[in-house]
């Protein structure tokens, strides 16, 4: 057990020291999140939106950051090793694919928590924003972490076989999910009725509904959200394992020579 925890920690250690020495990576947690935040909140205040919509945007941005950082950290931690040609050294080590995924997901989670803390301070100072219901807020963020982890497992699985293409996918498909899940709007008001049954079965849609319920803009369905989130993790883990073995059989996992 301790050995496994140490290997999981290895990924957090790598991520922390890479972040510390890399200006571009630092910008990813210090500058870009604030630019995204202010772009949307300035636009909303310019339009003279109600405080409740501004709160929805701020909460949505926090939830989305959780998905974004978990998914992206899981794939970038892997693709970084590929780019530096050290991937073979990682994969010939005793770390299991589960430990690798959990380790990088924890790094992503810590980055997300750091950014969310910055958001909480910045929005409190600028807009007087306060979290009205902490238990719901924490519960929603936990679900976003599980969803981000599922997405990261899928992206990482693709990375085992296709390597850097997964990095592009790591950027694209969270954006698609975000668009479908109605982070900053109501899906019922935007999408045609025939698409809604599918969209409402996305755990991300249900998780954003949970956040929106904090400002009275949606009705949460926590049991369904919990069930679908677990289903996603299970399916994603199976996919990840399938892709790992497929890559290992095809000789695409890593090259030594």
């Amino acid at each position: 057990m301790m050995d496994s925890l140490t290997r999981i920690y290895s990924q957090v250690y790598k991520s922390f020291h890479t972040l510390r020495r890399n200006t571009f990576r630092l910008a990813d947690v210090l500058i870009w999140p604030l630019i995204f935040l202010f772009t949307l909140t300035f636009f909303a205040t310019y339009l003279g939106s109600d405080a409740v919509y501004l709160q929805m945007i701020i909460l949505g941005m926090m939830g989305w950051r959780m998905i974004y950082f978990l998914n992206l950290e899981m794939v970038s931690s892997f693709v970084d090793e590929y780019w530096s040609k050290s991937l073979a050294h990682l994969l010939i080590s005793p770390i299991s694919r589960f430990e690798l995924a959990v380790g990088s997901a924890i790094s992503g989670f810590l980055k997300a928590v750091f950014v969310i803390c910055i958001y909480l301070v910045a929005t409190h100072v600028l807009y007087g924003f306060n979290v009205s219901d902490w238990p719901t807020f924490v519960l929603a963020l936990s679900f976003f972490a599980v969803i981000g982890f599922s997405m990261g497992l899928v992206t990482l699985g693709i990375g085992y076989y296709w390597k850097e293409e997964s990095f592009n996918l790591g950027f694209i498909w969270p954006d698609v999910i975000v668009l479908l899940s109605g982070v900053y709007f109501s899906v019922d008001a935007v999408y045609p009725a025939w698409v809604l049954p599918a969209i409402n079965l996305l755990p991300s849609t249900l998780a954003f509904n949970l956040l929106k319920s904090m400002v009275g803009l949606a009705v949460p369905d926590i049991p369904l959200l919990a069930m679908l989130s677990l289903l996603w993790v299970l399916l994603a883990y199976l996919f990840n394992g399938y892709m790992y073995e497929k890559a290992r059989r095809a000789g695409k996992l890593a090259r030594l020579g």
Binding site: Y9, K85, A88, P94, R249, G251, L253, A254
Partner: protein, 327 residues
């Protein structure tokens, strides 16, 4: 001593450009504990596929490989705990100093007392002055030494060195070879792949030649050379080669020819004839300046065996197998 690495009937095919490529074809090998074993072959011979299977990152189609009794496919994670790889082709992780990168690998391998171990491997590979530099900024030679340090952190029973001196200057290559010799003294089993035959001859206790996914020959350098040498040749530098040739030709099992006025070439079926030759030379009027045995080099042996595919008829109509060159 037992076998540290056992490979039995390993086969591996890939699909490449719509064609099936036989990377490994029923390869079997046994590498003893504590020996340096060389795996030599041209590019695309199957060396990388074989070491990738041992390292657990490639699944074989058939057969099995074991490292200290652990199956490299079914018990890959356990086997990876006792094995490590130094490769001349892999890079170092970005944005970490030498010490940080080694700590990262120490965590991956659950190295106990990691700081002390890191200090000792850094000292072994002489990187004390570079410990705080970013690993990616090191010179090629230093990067290879860093890789050896990384591989030794986990104190592996089996070490795979995949072209460890490729692209290095002479001094760096000598340093790496010195380190490898020190590792042999520690009793580690080392599997070395290299295109540098001088290096293989200097370091390896035994070696195998591989081509087209098949092991063609295995043995010590002398045993491999022995396969090539049907008749041993002695070169005699003398004042009158004609007289020497006439005298030696009378000895049974000896075939002597004049190469030049001062040089005679003598073929013998065994060095046991040397006593007769020396006795005959004692009776000639000609001055004898020098007498030397002409041995094939490892390079000649390698080229002869690698190019003599089983089933392919040689100049004299015999196949490499019939000639005894190929196992």
């Amino acid at each position: 001593m037992g076998d540290a690495i056992v490979i039995r009937g390993i086969s591996k095919t890939y699909r490449s450009g719509g064609e099936t490529v036989n990377a490994l074809d029923s390869v079997s090998l046994a590498i003893r504990e504590g020996e340096i074993f060389g795996l030599l072959g041209p590019n695309g011979a199957g060396k990388t596929s074989l070491i990738s299977i041992l390292a657990g990152i490639l699944a074989p189609d058939a057969g099995y490989a074991e490292v200290v009794g652990l199956n490299c496919s079914k018990e890959a994670k356990k086997a990876q705990e006792v094995l490590n790889v130094v490769s001349g082709f892999t890079g170092v992780i970005y944005s970490l100093s030498v010490e940080e990168a080694l700590m990262y690998y120490a965590l991956l391998y659950n190295v106990r007392d990691a700081k002390k171990k890191i200090a000792s491997v850094i000292k072994l590979v002489r990187l004390e002055n570079a410990r705080h530099l970013e690993a990616d900024d090191l010179s090629s030679g230093m990067k290879q030494r860093y890789q050896i340090a990384k591989a030794l952190l986990s104190d592996p029973c089996v070490l795979i060195l995949d072209e460890p001196t490729v692209g290095l200057d002479v001094e760096s290559a000598i340093t790496i070879r010195d380190i490898v010799k020190r590792l042999r003294k520690e009793g580690r089993t080392i599997l070395l792949t290299t295109h540098n035959l001088f290096e293989a001859e200097e370091l390896c206790d035994r070696m195998a030649f591989i081509n087209h996914g098949k092991i063609l020959a295995t043995g010590t350098v002398d045993e491999l050379k022995e396969r090539l040498v049907r008749k041993r040749t002695i070169e005699i530098n003398c004042s009158d080669s004609q007289e020497v040739v006439e005298r030696l030709s009378k000895i049974k099992g000896v075939n002597a020819t004049v190469k030049s006025g001062r040089l005679a070439l003598v073929s013998v079926d065994s060095y046991a004839r040397m006593k007769d030759i020396m006795a005959a030379l004692a009776g000639v009027k000609s001055e004898i300046y020098n007498l030397s045995a002409l041995e094939p080099t490892l390079e000649e042996t390698y080229l002869r065996i690698i190019n003599n595919k089983a089933g392919k008829r040689g100049a004299r109509g015999a196949t490499g197998k019939e000639e005894g060159l190929i196992e």
